[in-house]
């Protein structure tokens, strides 16, 4: 062991913090090096002087506890609350995910249902109890279920339901039909014992075909109402300004897209 290595170990030697082997090595060097022995004496005196001078000065045993006690509970609680909020967020996300899954399943079920015949609630003879529920932006024509009659008219929907047709199942379990047509508002009344098909022509335009009985189709402004009878197909003008137009069988109509109820 050289002088530098020895001197580096002197504080540890003096503090009695050297292992037996290292201690023996340091002492062997000290036995033959006067310079290091003098340094050892100086370091020893220094250590002793400082330790004696600072005796009893160390911070109290309660130092750390004192700090922790001074940290406001609120800080801990705030962090706990944040953690709880994060947990809540996770729970909400989970619930939202479940709701989305349930809705997806419900939509799939409805979609499957409307490929077949969708029974609608009985309608009065005329006028229909169609209610405009929303008028902001696009206009919806909503057919409300009506209680009281025994016969159920039917609406048949195409396999490929037009984008502007919405089918909802209400809390009452009845099916509601909503036509989203570019008109201030509109109505579709399916009369008793009647069947109506919503069809989409090859050009994508929605049309309504009455398969059995009759239906009342109305636009908003200008309000034009027509009664469509079995075998007739009607389209509603895209800009809503024109009355429903009867399609002649020669014009091609929706026959290619028709789906029998």
């Amino acid at each position: 062991m050289n002088c530098q290595e020895t001197k580096e170990r002197l504080p540890a030697l003096i503090d009695n913090e050297l292992g037996p082997e290292e201690r023996a090595e340091v002492e062997r060097h000290l036995a033959q090096c006067e310079d290091c022995r003098k340094e050892k004496t100086r370091q020893e005196k220094f250590t002793t002087s400082v330790k004696i001078s600072l005796e009893g000065l160390k911070p109290s045993d309660r130092f750390i506890k004192g700090v922790i006690e001074k940290l406001p509970e609120s800080a801990a609680k705030e962090r706990e609350a944040e953690a709880a909020a994060a947990r809540r967020k996770t729970t909400i996300s989970l619930i939202v995910a479940i709701v989305i899954i349930v809705l997806a399943v419900a939509i799939a079920v409805i979609h499957a249902a409307r490929r077949k015949e969708v029974p609608l609630t009985p309608a009065p003879r005329y006028p229909p109890a169609a209610t405009v529920l929303e008028q902001s932006g696009q206009v919806f024509m909503r057919r409300e279920p009506l209680p009281g009659t025994s016969e159920q008219p039917r609406v048949a929907l195409p396999e490929d339901v037009p984008d502007n047709v919405m089918v909802e199942t209400g809390a009452d379990g009845k099916v509601r039909l909503t036509l989203n047509i570019p008109a201030p508002y509109g109505e579709l009344a399916v009369l008793e014992n009647s069947e109506v098909w919503l069809l989409r022509k090859p050009d994508g335009i929605l049309c309504i075909k009455v398969g059995k009985g009759s239906a009342k189709i109305a636009t908003g402004r200008p309000r034009v109402a027509v009664e469509a009878v079995a075998g007739e197909t009607w389209v509603v003008a895209d800009d809503g300004s024109k009355p429903p137009k009867k399609e002649s069988p020669q014009s091609g109509g929706p026959s290619g897209q028709e789906k029998k109820p």
């Binding site: 003098k38 250590t47 002087s49 009893g56 911070p59 130092f63 700090v67």
Partner: protein, 204 residues
């Protein structure tokens, strides 16, 4: 800066992050790492140990609250030192103002750097003054060392910790600790050459 000091900065950063995530144990570890150095800084300005302890504790409380604003968690040590220095100086200033107004109470005997009571014997008044002065000089010397040396010197001389505990708190090897203590000793002896003229010969 020693390589260990760099990794200690990273250790500090990890402890800071754990504290911010609500881990009180991590903050206690930060306290253990720096309480000696912070306390020495406080002692340098406050004549009474109890005052110094209050200041040091307040320093950690403030650090806890300010932790979120600390941009570089690896620079915790320097940041904490600035808080400690500012707090200690504020305390010294307000004490000076109180003294000017004649409101200051004399520190209790045997408390901190003022009214030093020798551990044994019955020293005369002049001896007491001399010992208190020595104490003050040692503390000032420790507090003025570069941070990593002040930290280890405070652990050894102020907190009177053994090497195993120092290793635990600093998370460094015995070898690194020994080297650091050796350097801290040399620096301290140089800083205290007027206090201990007989020990000034530096052969390192």
């Amino acid at each position: 800066m020693e390589p260990e000091a760099v990794s200690e900065g990273l250790q500090d950063a990890a402890l800071v992050r754990r504290t911010l995530s609500g881990d009180r144990g991590a903050f206690e570890e930060l306290i253990r790492r720096y309480m000696g150095a912070v306390y020495a800084l406080a002692l340098r300005e406050a004549p009474a140990a109890s005052d110094a302890e209050d200041i040091a504790q307040e320093c950690f409380v403030r650090a806890f609250h300010g932790l979120e604003g600390l941009e570089d968690p690896a620079a915790f040590r320097g940041w904490l030192k600035r808080i400690a220095v500012n707090l200690a100086r504020d305390a010294a200033r307000s004490r000076a103002r109180r003294n000017e107004l004649g409101e200051g109470a004399a520190p209790a005997d045997g408390d901190g750097l003022a009214g030093y009571e020798a551990p044994s014997g019955d020293p005369s008044a002049s001896q007491k003054v001399r010992l208190a002065e020595t104490r003050r000089e040692i503390i000032a010397a420790i507090a003025s060392l570069p941070e990593e040396y002040a930290q280890v010197a405070a652990m050894k001389y102020v907190e009177a910790l053994d090497y195993a505990e120092m290793e635990r708190r600093l998370r460094i090897s015995r070898e690194a600790l020994r080297k650091r203590l050796h350097r801290a000793n040399l620096m301290l002896r140089r800083a205290l050459r007027r206090t201990f003229p007989e020990l000034t010969e530096d052969s390192a």
